[in-house]
Symmetry: C2
Subunit: 338 residues, 2 copies
Amino acid sequence: MAATIRDVAKAAGVGVGTVSRVLNNSPFVSQPTRERVLAAMAALDYQPSPTARRLALGRTHTIGVITPFFTRPAFVGRLNGILAELTATNYDLVLFSINTPEQRDACFQNVSKFKSVDGMIIIALGVQDADATVIKHWNVPTVLLDSHHPDLPSIAIDDTGGGRLATEHLIALGHRKIAFIGDTFDSPFGFISSQRRYLGYRQALETAGFRYRPAYQRLGDHGRYVAHQLALELLELHDPPTAIFAASDTQALGVLEAAHARRLRVPEDLSVIGYDDIEIAEYLDLTTIHQPMYSSGQQAATLLFELLSGNPPEETHILLPVEVVQRGTAAPPRTAHG
Amino acid sequence: MAATIRDVAKAAGVGVGTVSRVLNNSPFVSQPTRERVLAAMAALDYQPSPTARRLALGRTHTIGVITPFFTRPAFVGRLNGILAELTATNYDLVLFSINTPEQRDACFQNVSKFKSVDGMIIIALGVQDADATVIKHWNVPTVLLDSHHPDLPSIAIDDTGGGRLATEHLIALGHRKIAFIGDTFDSPFGFISSQRRYLGYRQALETAGFRYRPAYQRLGDHGRYVAHQLALELLELHDPPTAIFAASDTQALGVLEAAHARRLRVPEDLSVIGYDDIEIAEYLDLTTIHQPMYSSGQQAATLLFELLSGNPPEETHILLPVEVVQRGTAAPPRTAHG
DNA sequence: CTGTTAGCGCATTCAC
DNA sequence: GTGAATGCGCTAACAG
């Protein structure tokens, strides 16, 4: 059907080797023959077969990305950063989406996924020692993005620091009754960012010398609706918090809804701080922690290419900083000694 | 390095053909030999090479998706539908992201992209006759999603009808001064959905017998900020509109911002209707047109697989309906004969 | 049922 | 500089 390298060679009256050379623009081809080959390729509408090339080269010129819940803003943003970095290289990107714990396990078992790419980026998924062993065993460079394991290169984001930052911001504003809403700790996907943000929250509280109030900590499945319910519980407490730190902007929206439902004004009656700085946060004037989603994706891709190039960088465990974005949903509590 | 089919054959004391058969679980293998082969594979840690398989089969078991601005909710939603449909089939998905007009052109020229997939789905990008010719020429089944061309299968969404619906809803509410904010018509990417929504808007206005007011039509680049400016212009008119139809929810947010900036209450002073029904729309109580993003992605994938299976369906040009979602940003104008 | 052989399309030695 | 030969790892057709 489609013309092959052999057809071109025949048409140009040369050997396949020569055609291959012009294909890879080797300097060892005389100008005249090169032109003859080029002409033949054009005449035959020839397009080299990527698959054959891969087999012969032993490289796929493809990198894989494994991501859970790929519609979540935090993951889309990272993926976008990866894509941006990739277009410069014309590597292909194959996307594996994980939506159930079974898919997660299957993915790590299914080595064929790894065998069809030159490198892999895994987003957010928790990696156990056993997983790391499998990954390393198959010998395809893999970087963890927004996840961590001692044996694997990673681009992580300082979640603990972010949690601390958010809480400290609230404390600096004068709040003493600060609640936390986040994901459950036993995520079947091994997500731990919410847990680390909680850790930062606890640290900040402790440093400030506030007593620990278990009732101010509410965990549930990720999402606006659950967070809404959780916030309602918090607001119905005898001694309700004056501020709520939500482990993600999405959950912060649920908190905002709950406040609205309870006729509480934000930030006058309740301060809210989110996490992620998703696009809509600015529109909503939501005070939040900005994490570099796009940039972290870029850096993961860059790191992967360095690994692929054979010159691995010194430091392969990178931790990116975050910063608080002060907007309108966090302010001093009504009574200074709330 | 890694074990090949030949190593397994040797270790199991059989021919490569037999190994291949158990790999593809052919029934023509006796149970004892099958087990022997399986044991050898396990012992050697054998994993078949996807690349070699592709070369031999002439199929890549991969489908490609070309999408512009892949972070926009409308595209993410569609992609998510495609992914969902794909996981059932264990086809791989390679993602091509287009962010500049140059990339768009390069993508259609670059046949190698098409040669490395069994089928292709193109999201939103306008397809010219020349593009369609190229696509058909290379003979890889391609379906257009949220785009259209007579020669190519497509899953489109009834943008014109949606524009009409939105406008009719406003008219039914009693509005007569209805403005439109949308994307410029000469998108370098060939996007036309905004333009079609505008067409529906005009049709509804005409049907209702309203006179055409050029000043009520404002076009600009896609995005909240531009829409914000455009809305400001509208609101500064001598005879400002009582309702604004934004061609996307993102743009509707800009309109909402503008209303807020002008101290106008929504919907009392200004009605706003968006388009897309993105996730945040519900939170914002935004009246909008719901378009089936996820489902359209699924259907595109389904259609592509039908094409791939060799039993092409009768109808390959599918138009999906939309519906208005009545929420809080659209209400009757203050003065009934406003 | 099973071993052998011949490609799949290209890159890469080698000699010339 | 250039052509011919060999191999990448697997499937499929063909004998047995």
